[in-house]
Structures are given as C-alpha cells and as structure tokens.
Amino acid sequence: MTPVAIMVGSNRIVPGSGVIHPVGNVDLGSNEEKNLRRTIVQKAIEALHTELKEQTVFPRPSV
C-alpha cells in the first residue's frame, strides 16, 4: 500500500510487512517475528528523526 501513501501525500513512509500484519509475519517464529517488528519500528523512529524536504520512503534493510 506504499504507493497509496505516496499518492495521498504522506511525507515519512516506511513499508510494512504485509496488509494483514503490517509489523508482523506469521511465517516466522515468534522471536524472529519480533525482531522483524523491531527493524520496521526502528526504521520508523529513524524517519521521525530525519529532516526532510519532500516525501521520502525509508526502505527496510533486508532481514
């Protein structure tokens, strides 16, 4: 749904991990899932901390 966020004008965008679990993944074990969640949330924190002039998508590092 990242293209929708861009279209409507969101400025700080972090792609999540799926429509049915934006910060989760049922295919992973619970520890790995929590680690994944942490990576995405940390990226969001980084986005909040970043000075921006225009809409920016903050890609997740591959886990």
Binding site: N11, R12, G16, I20, P22, V23, K53, Q55
Partner: protein, 351 residues
Amino acid sequence: MVSQGLRVVHYLNQFFGGLGGEEKAHIGPQLREGFVGPGKVLHDAVKGRGEVVATIICGDNYFAERTEEAVQQILQMVTPCRPDILIAGPAFNAGRYGIACGELCKAVQDRLGIPAATGMYEENPGVDLYRREVYIVKTAESVRGMPDIISQMVALVLKLVDKKKIGRPAEEGYFPRGIARDESSDMNAAERAIAMVLAKIKGAPFESEIESPKFDKVKPAPPVKDMASATIALATDGGLVRRGNPEKLDPRGATWLRSYNVKGLKALNPEDFACHHSGFDTVFVSQDPNRLVPVDVMRDLENEGVIGKLHDKVCATAGVAASLSNAKKVGESLAEQLKAEGVDGVILTST
C-alpha cells in the same frame, strides 16, 4: 405550465452597482427598484418570462466582515420583493465578491427556497467554497462576455423553476457540483472508456465521468530532535479495538477515533485487544495485536532509552473507503489532540 411574471432579484457589489470602487467597499446593503448597471442585460435575458424587480447593492468589505449579519439584512430586504429567482454577480475573479455571491445564493436557496445562480472565474475562492451547493457559471478572468454568462445563469434558474433536468456541467457551463447521477447511454462502459482513451491519445478533449480527487501537498514536519527524551505515540487506521469492541468502532469509513490506555502494558494482549476492520483479513492481528500496533517493541525501545516515552494512549480508527474529507478531519483532530498531550512524534501503522 410555464410560469410567467417571474420576479428576479439581482445582487451586485459596490463597483458593478455603480457606487464606486474600493473606497465604497464598506457600504452596507441598499435596495434599488428594478435593474442597475449590468442588470439591464439580465432584465433583457428574462424578457418574456419575468423581470428584474429589484437590485441589492452591497460593499464587498461590508459583506466579508460580517457575513451572517449581511446575509440576514439582505434577506430581510429581499423577502418583501417576493422573489422567484436570485441572480448574483457574476463576480469574475473578484474574491470577496465571489464569496458574497456564493454565500447569498446558498442562503436564498436554503432559507427562502428559491433557485439562484452566480458566475465566477475558476480561481475565484468562491468556486471551491460554494460549487457543491450553488450553480456557478464559469466565466473568464476579466470582465467580458456578460451577455453569454447572464444567459447561461438565466437558463439554469429557469430550468430549476420549470423543474426541468439540468444537463451536465460542460453542457450548461457551470462548475461540476460533485453530484453523480445515473444516466443511460448508447455506449456501454467499456465502449465509453475506450472512446475516452482514444481521445486522450489523440490529444482531443474528453470529459471524465468521475472527478478525480485532489490530494493536499503537506510540508514535512521538522524532525524529532532528541529521540531519547521524546514522547512517541502509536496510532493506526487498521481497526484496533478492545475485545468485544465496547467503544463500537465502525469497521470502515474512518468516521471517528477511539483511544485506548496502554500505560504500563508491556505488549498488547490478544485477550484484551482485537481487530475490527472490513478491509482485510483480521485473523492474524487478532491473534497478536502487536502485529498491527507494535506496543511490545516500542515498550522495549522505551526501556532501552532509545525513545523517551511511549505515549499512554493508542489512537485507532478503521480506514477502509474513508472519504477524503473524513480522513482529513480525523487526521487533523488526532494531530491536535496528541500535540496538546505533549507528543513529539507519531508512528501510524496502516494496512
């Protein structure tokens, strides 16, 4: 039966009413019998169906500075004239005049139940403010083409008086009102879509059957400077609810916000929280709500000092086919609330 003897009232500002320019913009509403200035064109345009029985002239600043009062004064002046129709302006690109025309047309429609029309240039702020409620004929930026504009306005109001169907905006020359109306066509939707695409490729004019939404461009907020002492809130449009949905969150439409206290919670417990959203399969989030609203990770980051504090409230709504205007209202009210509560940044999770 076609009504004859229609009584038309015309609204003009101080300039078109012949009182003067900006130096007369403070003048309050005045009633004149019959037509004034460009009202002659209007009078000629309604010949055979009626006449301009009165003209109201009002200063643009007077109207702008006390709108409701001015509207009431004008309605009081207009009512004894027993009008069947109000024509305002046209205002071309004059902003205050356009707003006065739009506001007055709306008032006579709502409060006197009579048809009204006005005319403006597309960049006149009155267009965006009033086009959904008032018939606004498109004009050029400069004052020209008065006879054509007046006859378009008159054609529209006469159709309203005669209770005839009003044609499409492009046909009748008014700004689209955002009304979708069923119509039958000889061509089916596929044929009409292909015809539109072919016209677009050829560079020929075409008219979209549905208006595309216009999105705001918002300047990015300045970054959170000191994350280690910042309060960060979590919010979602993914339909987080307390088990059983006691707050009765709507599963679609982002009609309003709910907030839940997460003070002291290490994570969202699936016994206390669930997901109520008609736009996706909510099973996995209901099994573990942290998959939608990551309270568990945020609490860890708070304990580790990465962020100063996780805000005690989590705010939620359910998006799903939300109208732009609802979504905007909900977003703005959330931002105001959180700002007042001392929040420095928000992470909004969305499906």
